[in-house]
């Protein structure tokens, strides 16, 4: 049995003070947490009061689209959704996308920042077919000891409006892709019930989870929230359905936001917010107040949609907290909660966190409080994946 003792760190266990405690890891899992554990282990690391956080969870990215680590490509996508979709598909081939190499570059950067689990949407359409699945799987295989990657079969070019896409998504799910995606059932596909029929049908047939991009704003988007909630209740898929972006939340009055969040909570539908550009952020405090699951993600990074992004999930948590005007420590911790435990719930990681029995996925930073870690963005001293050190001082450990 391989054992590791992290001595004298301050583990963040939500709701408790970050008192000094040792963490004993055996065969990749947390065996004990407590003060002054016995000092017998194959390896002992003195954390000297550093903060220990559970591994960060990026629940929304697009690894198949990224050009991370490649040359600078001036963006030509413009600002409309349809323009960016057309630009993304139109220039893919010319730029060698999807690329396993770029996806691996980005995964490496994500891990360096402390991310230990990722959900990536993968464009599926009749032109690219399942090429994105293959590329991202190759990248994930390269980093399989460092990060877990879950895939979404995502109809970026439309589902009903793009014949042949549903069949390809079914093929992706049949060969193991875990999540079926959707895209603006009303605003883009123009047939909300029709798109949900296909998505929920695929989810039931393949035992897949669901993650729907919902950019539709205002009353249209809010109406679609209800439609998805109702369908989730009807199909018994509680805990397995996510609405990504959910921009319409931003146009609702606080009492309406609360009503939506309560419905989400009761139906077991989660939301993912990314604080992209000027787009509204799902209100972190309201989601938490009513017990609804909120998770965070980086969204597109250095791709044909956006030139921005670096893959650092702690910085993304910072962005969300900053955009949502979370300023007091307990409020900022709610954003950290969303970027860790919230993400784990969306991904269905049952034994996640700094808790006995869970895989030792964690990061170590110098910070006086969890909120300070989010604000100050200190260097990542250590990142562990299943008890193995994968990052030291922000640098990927590459010798296996």
């Amino acid at each position: 049995m391989n054992t590791l003792l992290l001595r004298g760190g301050r583990p963040w266990i939500p709701g408790l003070p970050t008192d000094v405690a040792d963490i004993r890891i055996a065969d990749g899992r947390i065996e004990r947490i407590g003060p002054d554990l016995e000092s017998t282990a194959d390896e002992i690391i003195d954390l000297a009061g550093a903060l220990v956080l559970p591994g960060l969870v990026d629940t929304h990215c697009h690894l198949d689209k990224t050009m991370f680590g490649g040359p600078w490509i001036p963006n030509t996508g413009g600002r409309t959704l349809s323009g960016r979709i057309a630009n993304g598909a139109g220039r893919r081939v010319e730029l060698g996308l999807p690329s396993a190499e770029y996806a691996a570059n980005l995964l490496g950067a994500m891990v360096s920042g402390g991310t230990t689990a990722v959900r990536s949407h993968i464009d599926i359409d009749p032109e690219v077919g399942l090429g994105g699945v293959a590329a991202v799987r190759a990248a994930a295989a390269e980093h399989s000891d460092r990060v877990d990657v879950e895939l979404v079969a995502f109809p970026q070019g439309g589902l009903l409006s793009r014949p042949g896409t549903a069949e390809l998504m079914a093929a992706a799910l049949a060969e193991g892709v875990e999540v079926v995606g959707g895209l603006d059932p009303a605003g883009y596909d123009r047939d909300p019930v029709g798109q949900l029929n296909v998505i929920f049908g695929l989810a039931e047939r393949y035992g897949a989870k669901i993650d729907i991009h919902l950019h539709d704003g205002g009353t249209l988007g809010a109406w679609e929230f209800d439609l998805i909630v109702e369908r989730t209740r009807a199909t018994g898929l509680a805990g397995r359905v996510t609405i990504s972006h959910a921009y319409a939340m931003g146009s609702l009055a606080p009492d309406e936001q609360r009503r939506v969040a309560e419905n989400l909570s009761e139906a077991g539908v989660s939301m993912v917010t990314c604080a992209v550009g000027e787009a509204p952020v799902v209100p972190v405090r309201i989601m938490h107040d009513v017990g609804a699951t909120l998770a965070l993600g980086n969204d597109g990074i250095r791709d044909l949609w956006t030139p921005y992004g670096d893959g650092d999930m702690l910085r993304r948590i910072n962005n969300v907290a900053y955009r949502d005007r979370l300023v007091a420590d307990p409020e900022i911790e709610l954003a950290l909660l969303a970027g860790t435990y919230g993400g784990a719930r969306v991904l269905g990681l049952d034994d996640y966190g700094l808790t006995v029995g869970a895989p030792a996925d964690l990061l170590v930073v110098e910070a006086p409080t969890p909120a300070a870690a989010v604000v100050v963005l200190p260097p990542r001293k250590l990142v562990l994946k299943r008890g193995r050190i994968v990052v030291r001082d922000g640098v990927l450990v590459t010798d296996k």
Copy 2:
């Protein structure tokens, strides 16, 4: 005569391609820019194709409020303007503010990021008096060879609504503070004409510039834009009046934004935007299209208003570009333009920029294009102030 040759960099001169050129500096000023200048100088530095940008200009910060470099202070300000004002004034003494030491820490971080000129608002009220002016002047003196600091006498606690403040502001201006500040003439002071009477009166009496914080949103804020424009025309203060934040711009339709921007341009009134939290960003493209001056700033950094911020002006330019959804290279360059030449116009730096005769205030980064520098945020290889190297590889040069 002291001479320095920066060889083989790619200076960014807006509107021109960033071709390789040498920059010859004599006695702190740019003497020549061009390819293959003669290689005689006291010092020669090979820039090997790195990008050269003019020094960044932070036109809106609060050096007197910062606790930068101090211990983590959990924020207690809350989210309302009045609550944050009360918290800021109420906890000042307990925390040793205003502090020359913290202000100097922050100025050092700003310089390390490539900032060479700063405008800082300084709270003036009957409790703190001119203590903030003294503290920030001491900090600025410590960094006088690295960065120029201009001060605003700022009535953070109200002007008409806080008796004694106007007299203290007059005293600050009399002893050399360069700018007279204002705060929500309608929303906070409840007497917009009355506050403008005092501000413009002080400006005329002391030959000061004007910089008004305008958080008021919607039609109220938009109406105040007009009021300030009219008053600027009437007093002949074109080029010397700035509206900071200008959140009301965000609630206007694009054609209304354009009308306001045209009025600003004609009247010589500038705007400063900071992309703070969820607050609206002044539209960068519209301001540029009509020739109105837009500048950027970090606003509060690690203070009683906000725990966030690091003083890196290039990151702030990135934030503004990201929030304003500037994605194409020429659009992103407009944000860089605002964070450099726009800021210089607000500060009245007549001989600013990468141009012959100007003081050699510049920074050097490895980036393929100016837009890429904004997006990628590369390390600052060199920062020069008046021809003197003040930062190498992101680290302040401290031996004089």
